[in-house]
Symmetry: C2
Subunit: 282 residues, 2 copies
């Protein structure tokens, strides 16, 4: 399966340190060598970098480790192909426009028999179950929210949770979705998150013998959330998502979360905080 | 105004040489220093690189000059801002999906009082007249061709010519549009094109004292068309578009062209071949 990563910040931030750890999993410390991609959202526009090479040693990945691109929201993906051949059109994140915003999406998992009826408003370009799921989610959101102006995360979150649950019946559906304002992160089986704020520690990567004093680059008011399939640093308090949980992050804060009732009743909620299903703060 | 560039080839080709000349116009030999972008279409997916920096010395532009990305169709743009501030969301090319294909678009010109009614199928993310025109064109194409499968260039070309003429009434509208299969190039005031085939010459850039023996990288069956606002090389036979002309290029061949009747009657057609308005070859 694949490696997911997201960053949500209240100020434009670089991901060169995190991507140095993540990209090692693309052929060096991990077997996810079938392409990679990063989506940097800032100023409404999204800059997408995708490549079918190995993230650990491809030239473009090296450029992105060396040249910080600052953005408030970043999604990244390291691919281990399950459906669709190793080619550019199957690399995540996928990108579409809806309501005058760029939406990016990446997926870790494998959906069986998922062939929803697509009306044509958003159609897949490649051959993955992931892109089909993304297009169907956007189609359903467009059907329910007909405004040309952006709908806020508070209205979108419960609908995205419902759509995630429906698609999740077809298999493993860990995903990250963003319009640049909010990051919607859904764990079907495995996802971790971490909030960083003042005082910032010195972080040690799991995949490299590299440490970074985060207090140098970040000010006292800076705040950020990181989401990843596996913790990227070994000395910070990464917390697991509950199975089936959707969390929404805006400007480095957790603002909404939801765990399906069935999962809560079965007692598989591992994180106390995830029982809160109401909006917490804007 | 801006600098446009397109490449259409029958085999995946690099644009490092052409982009070396073009990017010099982004702040060095030209004043177009308000951002740049390249769209590489191959395997249905499109890789888009945009940056609000100067193409002549930005780090990403340097990477793209040094690392060939091979594609059958490439669009590039060097921006001199007329409408919309210098920021990422206003950098060309713009990218959207329609019929399961990526469409890219870039524009040189300035449209006055162009505020078409946009239904929501494709909406601008930035603030340029250019992106509005692109969204409206895709909206009109979507309205006329309702299939979920890609419509061929032979059907699209006359409609795109009609839309270009309508938008062109609002001002200067030189543009490049592509779905990765065909390049639709429209000249409102100024655009040149060049076909390269065996025997390939040694080409000398206009903007740098650099020459390249094109026979080294290209085989006897390779064929390509280049389109640019100003010729990029000084020893090849660049031909001007007629005013108002739309030409369509597929796999390095001119396959369709059209000049509005009014322009032909006024005797401003400068290129004999452009009188042919029928499809020439697939």
């Amino acid at each position: 399966m694949c490696q997911l990563f997201a960053l949500s910040c209240n100020v434009p931030s670089a991901v060169t340190f995190s991507f140095t750890g993540l990209s090692a999993r693309g052929g060096q410390t991990g077997e996810h060598a079938d392409g990679y991609g990063l989506a940097f959202h800032d100023e409404r526009r999204c800059r997408l970098f995708i490549d079918e090479g190995r993230a650990c040693d491809a030239a473009l990945a090296g450029f992105l480790r060396q040249h910080p691109i600052r953005a408030r929201t970043v999604l990244a993906h390291i691919r281990k192909a399950t459906q669709g051949p190793v080619q550019l059109s199957n690399c995540h994140p996928f990108l579409r426009e809806w309501q005058g915003r760029h939406w990016s999406f990446c997926h870790n998992g494998d959906l069986k028999d998922f062939h929803p009826r697509l009306s044509g408003s958003h159609l897949p370009i490649g051959e993955t179950d992931s892109e089909r799921a993304f297009c169907w989610m956007l189609q359903e959101l467009r059907r329910r929210f007909r405004s040309s102006r952006p709908t806020g995360w508070a209205q979108l979150a419960p609908v995205i949770a419902e759509l995630a649950e429906r698609i999740g019946r077809h298999g493993v559906f860990n995903f990250l979705l963003s319009d640049g304002e909010a990051v919607y992160a859904h764990a079907s089986t495995r996802l971790f998150w971490l909030q960083r704020a003042h005082p910032f520690p010195t972080a040690h990567l799991v995949d490299h013998d590299i440490a970074l004093d985060l207090s140098v680059a970040n000010g006292p008011d800076d705040r950020m959330v990181l989401v990843a399939t596996e913790p990227l640093t070994r000395n910070e308090a990464w917390r697991p998502f509950a199975e089936g949980e959707l969390k929404v992050f805006v400007a480095g804060e957790l603002v909404w979360q939801h765990v399906p009732q069935a999962v809560m009743k079965a007692g598989v909620v591992r994180d106390e905080a995830s029982r809160t299903t109401l909006a917490m703060s804007a």
